[in-house]
Subunit: 260 residues, 2 copies
């Protein structure tokens, strides 16, 4: 059992809190029994870390025996955890590499493109909602909050493992590529955007969603086939990015379901 | 200038962090320049509290001169604030009293009823989205998180002041009353709910939204005219309560806008 936070394994885990260290090691960590049990087989788990308390009280130890187990004192676990009351279970995983080449484009494709989404909660919630509403792939621009930030992972509630997510996309190349493949680019835009219900989403569509404060970069917006804006009639005409995204995803799905 | 947290005014403000003390004093506090500047004239502001730093750097002191000003040391302000880096401005206000009698019911009424929503972020976001999408009044059951919880107020982004919100409703009486007035009660329900787009929302409607973990109480659900469920096609069939609420509000608004 590891009882010191000076231990090499512990120091390496703590490093993974930083994006550049995650990229260097090609690893991320994830906490909590429920989400760890959802890790699909295509993601390589390198080791499990248990707090002494969690390990001793665990009824089903067999579940974790195929992979290296590390047990640490409760105090050490508290130091590596990002939560105030850690459950006591963590997994270290390899970062999966998805690429544009793995994405199948057809007449019904439903994609989303996120341009510099900064808030981890928004990013995670958008991924979770996108999965529920049938999005086929999510493209992240450079400048988005890191997908393997623990707050993002937690906010996805496991959807991070069920969705095809391609990071660090060059949106110039991506948008041109999608357009060549007859994917309609629909950009969220506050000025001059049409309401979602008046846009045809039945064909291949990619929804382009911009940074919380500054929206989509002008040069990407100019490449879009359509601009979309949620109609708002209150005094305060603003909406959370994850809320407005969800409404548009719903409109896409509902047009397609109604059509059938 | 107040430099001690033993001061009576400071102790009274700290008490307002608790719901029962807010109810006893009929007061709440609110922090941040932007939201304070949005307080409408029908809400009585009792006093402003400034940190020494904020007060000294403030360019437009006139804005606040009609009402009692209290200046406190930066340390004392930190103690009364709920944020890690407080801006240094707080207002103490009277809790406005809205009642069902003030709500006008007509053919176009669009209401929402929240049954024991517990998470302050969800509650605040639902209020913000409801305002943006044209909800006429929001009814809160007993057992909802307190509306004047500072996290709720912050998440509303000012919408708390532009929306007619009636607290502590007895939902049995409310639902019967609305039904007698020809308001369609549409209850969010995971089993057997119809997709939003197949429900007619053009007439007077009240959307009933339940607790994040347990949904709407069975006895209220049984009174509903319709059950609604967002269609979901991902592996993880779950959605945040504020997201699913927003989607339904959008469907109501879009049916009405398309109709015109």
């Amino acid at each position: 059992m590891i009882t010191s936070d000076k231990n090499k394994i512990i120091k390496d885990i703590v490093k993974l809190k930083q994006k550049k260290e995650r990229e260097k090691a090609n690893k991320f960590y994830i906490e909590g029994e429920r989400i760890i049990n959802e890790i699909p087989s295509n993601i390589h788990i390198e080791m499990y870390i248990f707090s002494e308390k969690f390990y001793n009280e665990m009824s089903d130890k067999d579940k974790y025996t195929n992979i290296k187990n590390i047990i640490v004192s409760n105090d050490v676990f508290k130091k590596i955890s990002d939560t105030i009351n850690p459950q006591g279970i963590m997994a270290i995983c390899n970062i999966p590499k998805n690429s544009l080449k793995d994405v199948n484009i057809n007449n019904n494709s439903f994609f989303i493109i996120l341009d510099r989404i900064c808030d981890p909660g928004n990013m995670g919630t958008i991924i979770r909602t996108a999965e529920a509403l049938g999005v086929d792939a999510i493209f992240l621009s450079k400048g988005c909050v890191d997908l393997y930030n623990d707050k993002v992972i937690r906010a996805t509630m496991g959807s991070i493992f069920h969705t095809n997510i391609i990071e660090n996309c060059d949106l110039d190349i991506l948008i041109d590529n999608l357009k060549e493949n007859n994917v309609n680019i629909v950009c969220t835009y506050l000025e001059g955007g049409k309401p979602p219900y008046s846009i045809n989403f039945k064909n291949a569509t990619a929804i382009l969603i911009g940074n919380e404060a500054n929206g989509v970069l002008e040069k990407y917006k100019n490449k879009a086939n359509e601009l979309v804006k949620i109609p708002m009639i209150g005094k305060v005409e603003s909406m959370n990015a994850s809320i407005s995204s969800a409404i548009i995803f719903y409109e896409v799905l509902s047009q397609r379901l109604k059509n059938n």
